[in-house]
C-alpha cells in the first residue's frame, strides 16, 4: 500500500476504529470492573456466601454494554455508508474493468472486519488497563482490600468479540449502496449526484409502527394495572422495550420529520435555511447520526424521571416524613448519577458519530461550499451554517429523547407504586431538573464541539474550487 493510500485509509477508517475501540474499552472495563467487585464481594466473609451481588452486577452491565454497542454499530454503519458514497467513482471504475458488485461489497466488509479487530484489541488493552490502574489506586488508598484477581478473564473477551461482529455487520449494512453502483458511473461527467438512498422497506416501517403501537398499549396498560398492583411494572417495562424498539426501528420515519420542524425554528436567514435543508438532505444519514444520541438521552431521562417520580410519590404517600425522605433521596440520587454516567458513555460514542457525519458532509459538499464562498458567503456565515446544522441535529435528538424519556419514566414509576395508598394522581411527574439541565448543557456542548472541525474544514475551502470540473 502506498503512503497516500495509507493516509487516506487512516482518515477514512479513523472514526470507525475510534468508535470500535471506545465500545470495546467500555465493555471490557465494565466486565473487568464487575469481575473485580464480584471477587471483592466473595473475599468478604459477610457477602461471600451469596452470589446475588455478582449476578445483579452482571445483568446491569450487559444492559449498558448493549446500549453502547448499539450506538457504536449505528455510528459505524453511517461511517461506512459515507465511505462508500465517497468511493463511487472508484468502485464504478473497477466494475467497468470487470469486478463484480459482490466482490466490491465483500472488500468493504473485510475492511469492516479489520477495523473491528483493531478497535477491539485497543479496547481490550485500554479497558483492562484502565480498571487495573483504578484498582491499584484504590488499593493504595486502602479503599479496596488486597485479594487475588486475574485480568486474564475470558469473559472480558466477549465484549471485544461482539465489537468485531457488530463492526463487521455495520460495514455490511453500510455498504449496501455498492450494489447500486453501475460501471457507467465511471464514464459519466464528474457532476455531483445526490446520494441515492435506498428507501427503507415497507416491512421495516410496518414492523416499527406495529411495535410502537403494541408497545404503547402495553406501556399504558402497565400503568393502569399499576394503579391496583405493582406487577404493572413488568407489563409497562416490556411495553417500554417493545415500543422503544419500534421508535429506533422507525427512526427514519420520525427523525426527518422532527428535523424539519426544528429546522423551521432556526429562523429564516439564508444561513439558517441552508443549514436546515442540509440536515434533511440525506434523511437516512441524519437519522443514523442522531439515533444514538436519541437512545442515550431517552435512557438517561427515563431513569432519572422514573426514580425522581418514584421518590416524590413515596414522599407524598408517606406524608412528607423528612427523615424518610432524606434516606430515599440520597439513594435515588446515587443510582441516577451512576446510571447517567454509564449511559453517558454511549452518548460520547454517539457524539463521535455526529462529528464524523458533519465532517464528511462538509467534505462531500466541497464544491457547493466553494460556490457559496464565490457568491459571497463569508467565512463567518459558513461557520454559522455548520453550527446551525449541528445544533439542529442535536436539538432534535435531545428534545425527542427528553419527551420519550419523560413518558417512559412516568410510566415506570406509576406502574410500580400507583397502587400505594396516598399516591398522587395519575398525571403526577417528578422532574429531575438537575439531570435535565445536565442533558441540555451536554447537548449545547456537543453542538459546539461537533461543529468545530467541520466548520474549520469548510472555511478552508477556496471559492475557486467551485469553478470548472475536476
Amino acid at each position: 500500500m502506498s503512503g497516500a493510500r495509507a493516509g487516506s485509509a487512516r482518515t477514512e477508517h479513523g472514526p470507525g476504529v475510534l468508535v470500535a475501540a471506545l465500545s470495546s474499552a467500555f465493555g471490557v472495563a465494565l466486565i473487568q470492573g464487575t469481575g473485580l467487585l464480584d471477587a471483592a464481594a466473595k473475599a468478604d466473609p459477610v457477602t461471600g456466601a451469596s452470589d446475588t451481588v455478582g449476578a445483579l452486577l452482571r445483568v446491569t452491565s450487559v444492559v449498558f454494554i448493549g446500549v453502547a454497542m448499539y450506538s457504536g454499530a449505528v455510528v459505524t454503519t453511517n461511517t461506512f455508508s459515507v465511505i462508500v458514497a465517497g468511493r463511487v467513482r472508484q468502485i464504478a471504475l473497477r466494475r467497468l474493468l470487470g469486478s463484480t458488485a459482490r466482490a466490491e461489497r465483500g472488500a468493504v466488509a473485510r475492511e469492516g472486519l479489520l477495523v473491528g479487530l483493531i478497535g477491539a484489541v485497543i479496547g481490550l488493552v485500554l479497558g483492562s488497563g484502565g480498571v487495573a490502574a483504578i484498582a491499584a489506586v484504590a488499593r493504595a488508598a486502602g479503599v479496596l482490600a488486597d485479594f487475588p484477581y486475574s485480568y486474564a478473564n475470558p469473559t472480558a473477551l466477549l465484549p471485544a468479540a461482539a465489537v468485531v461482529l457488530t463492526t463487521w455487520l455495520a460495514a455490511v449494512v453500510g455498504s449496501r449502496r455498492v450494489l447500486t453502483v453501475t460501471p457507467m458511473q465511471a464514464l459519466g461527467g464528474a457532476e455531483e449526484r445526490s446520494e441515492e438512498e435506498g428507501r427503507a422497506s415497507r416491512l421495516r416501517s410496518g414492523a416499527a409502527v406495529a411495535l410502537l403501537s403494541f408497545g404503547a398499549l402495553l406501556l399504558f396498560g402497565g400503568v393502569a394495572i399499576g394503579a391496583v398492583d405493582p406487577l404493572g411494572l413488568l407489563v409497562a417495562f416490556s411495553g417500554g422495550i417493545v415500543s422503544f424498539t419500534g421508535v429506533v426501528l422507525g427512526a427514519h420515519l420520525v427523525i426527518p420529520r422532527a428535523l424539519r420542524i426544528v429546522g423551521r425554528l432556526m429562523g429564516g436567514s439564508a444561513t439558517a435555511r441552508l443549514a436546515a435543508e442540509n440536515a434533511v438532505r440525506y434523511p437516512q444519514r441524519s437519522t443514523r447520526s442522531t439515533v444514538g444520541l436519541l437512545v442515550s438521552v431517552t435512557l438517561i431521562t427515563t431513569f432519572a424521571v422514573a426514580l425522581r417520580t418514584f421518590g416524590d410519590m413515596i414522599t407524598i404517600a408517606s406524608g412528607d416524613d423528612p427523615v424518610y425522605y432524606a434516606g430515599v433521596d440520597t439513594m435515588l440520587t446515587t443510582v441516577t448519577v451512576v446510571f447517567s454516567v454509564l449511559i453517558g458513555f454511549s452518548a460520547v460514542i454517539a457524539g463521535v458519530g455526529l462529528v464524523n457525519a458533519l465532517s464528511l458532509g462538509v467534505l462531500q459538499r466541497t464544491r457547493e461550499l466553494g460556490l457559496l464562498r464565490a457568491l459571497g458567503f463569508s467565512a463567518r456565515q459558513l461557520r454559522r451554517m455548520v453550527l446551525a446544522e449541528s445544533g439542529q441535529l442535536v436539538l432534535t435528538a435531545v428534545a425527542l429523547g427528553l419527551l420519550l424519556g419523560t413518558v417512559y419514566g412516568w410510566a415506570g414509576a406509576h406502574s410500580l407504586i400507583g397502587a400505594v395508598r396516598g399516591a398522587p394522581a395519575l398525571w403526577f411527574v417528578g422532574l429531575p431538573w438537575p439531570v435535565l439541565a445536565v442533558v441540555v448543557a451536554g447537548g449545547v456542548l456537543l453542538t459546539l464541539v461537533a461543529s468545530v472541525a467541520p466548520a474549520r474544514r469548510a472555511t478552508r475551502i477556496a471559492p475557486v474550487e467551485a469553478l470548472g470540473v475536476e
Partner: protein, 261 residues
C-alpha cells in the same frame, strides 16, 4: 511568440469607462525551481455593456486572470481595479463582501445550490447581503426571469431542471443584482451545442440590452464568436485582441497559438 493580430490601441476615455481593469498583473505559484508563472504582466479592461471573451490554450493563464478579475484570488504584483476600487491587496473578508455585491458568476457546472429552488438560488446574493431587493429590483428580476423563460419554474429544484435551464437560472442569479462585472467560466462547457448557443445569445443580449459587463473564459471558438471582443492569452501574456470575430478565424488563430508552443 508571433503576434498574428495587432493589439488594438487604447485611449484614455476607454479606461474611464472600464468597470473592471487589470494593469500589469503577474501571478506566480510556488517558489524556487518549482515556480509557475501563471500570468506575466497582463493589461485588460472590460467596459460597461461589453461582452469580452478570454481565450487561450490550457495553461495560458486565462483561468487565473478570471480569478483575479472576480476577486477570487490576489495578484503577486500589479493592480486589479473594480470600478473605482483597487482590489488586488484586499483580504479574504473584504474580497468576499466585494464579490457578494459587485460580481456575478456563471460556471461550467454545479452552478446552483441543490437544496434551494430556482427563486431561492436567484435571490441568494441578496439574502447573503441581508438586504431585501427594492421594488425596482424586484421588477427587474421578474422581467429577467420572464426573458429567461423561468417564470413558471420558480419552485423547481435544480435536479428537476435540464442543463440548459440550470444554466439560465445561474445567469438570472448573476444578472439579478446588476453587478459591476459578470464572470463566466466555460458557461457552455456542459451543454449541447444548441442549448449552448441559446445561453451565449442570452449573455450577449444581457450585455447589449442591460449594459452588463461580462468577462467569459472559454476555449470554444463558437462561444467566443458571440463576444464583442476576443482577448487571446498564451504563456501568461496577452498575445492578441480584436473586436468581434467569427468562429472560423478564432479557431485558426488558436491553432497558430498551439503551434507556437
Amino acid at each position: 511568440m508571433t503576434t498574428a493580430l495587432p493589439a488594438q490601441p487604447r485611449t484614455a476615455s476607454e479606461h474611464l469607462e472600464a468597470v473592471a481593469r487589470v494593469q500589469g498583473v503577474a501571478k506566480r505559484y510556488g517558489s524556487g525551481d518549482a515556480t509557475v508563472h501563471a500570468l506575466r504582466g497582463v493589461d485588460l479592461a472590460v467596459r460597461r455593456g461589453e461582452f469580452v471573451a478570454i481565450m487561450g490554450p490550457s495553461g495560458s493563464g486565462k483561468s487565473t486572470l478570471m480569478h483575479l478579475l472576480a476577486g477570487l484570488d490576489s495578484p503577486t504584483s500589479g493592480e486589479v481595479w473594480l470600478g473605482d476600487r483597487e482590489i488586488g491587496a484586499l483580504d479574504d473578508t473584504a474580497l468576499t463582501l466585494l464579490r457578494r455585491e459587485r460580481i456575478g458568476f456563471v460556471f461550467q457546472a454545479f452552478n446552483l445550490v441543490p437544496t434551494l429552488d430556482v427563486i431561492g438560488n436567484v435571490m441568494l446574493p441578496f439574502e447573503l447581503r441581508g438586504a431585501k431587493p427594492s421594488r425596482e429590483e424586484r421588477t427587474f428580476i421578474g422581467r429577467l426571469l420572464g426573458e429567461l423563460g423561468l417564470a413558471d419554474r420558480l419552485g423547481h429544484r435544480p435536479r428537476e431542471l435540464s442543463g440548459g435551464q440550470q444554466q439560465r437560472v445561474a445567469i438570472a442569479r448573476a444578472l439579478a443584482s446588476r453587478p459591476q462585472l459578470v464572470v463566466a467560466d466555460e458557461p457552455t462547457g456542459n451543454l449541447d451545442s444548441r442549448t449552448g448557443r441559446e445561453v451565449l445569445s442570452l449573455l450577449a443580449s444581457a450585455a447589449a440590452g442591460h449594459g452588463q459587463a461580462i468577462a467569459m473564459v472559454t476555449h470554444d471558438p463558437i462561444a467566443a464568436s458571440y463576444a464583442d471582443r476576443v482577448v487571446f492569452l498564451a504563456d501568461g501574456r496577452v498575445v492578441a485582441e480584436e473586436g468581434r470575430m467569427d468562429a472560423e478565424r478564432i479557431a485558426r488563430f488558436m491553432l497558430t497559438l498551439e503551434d507556437a508552443r
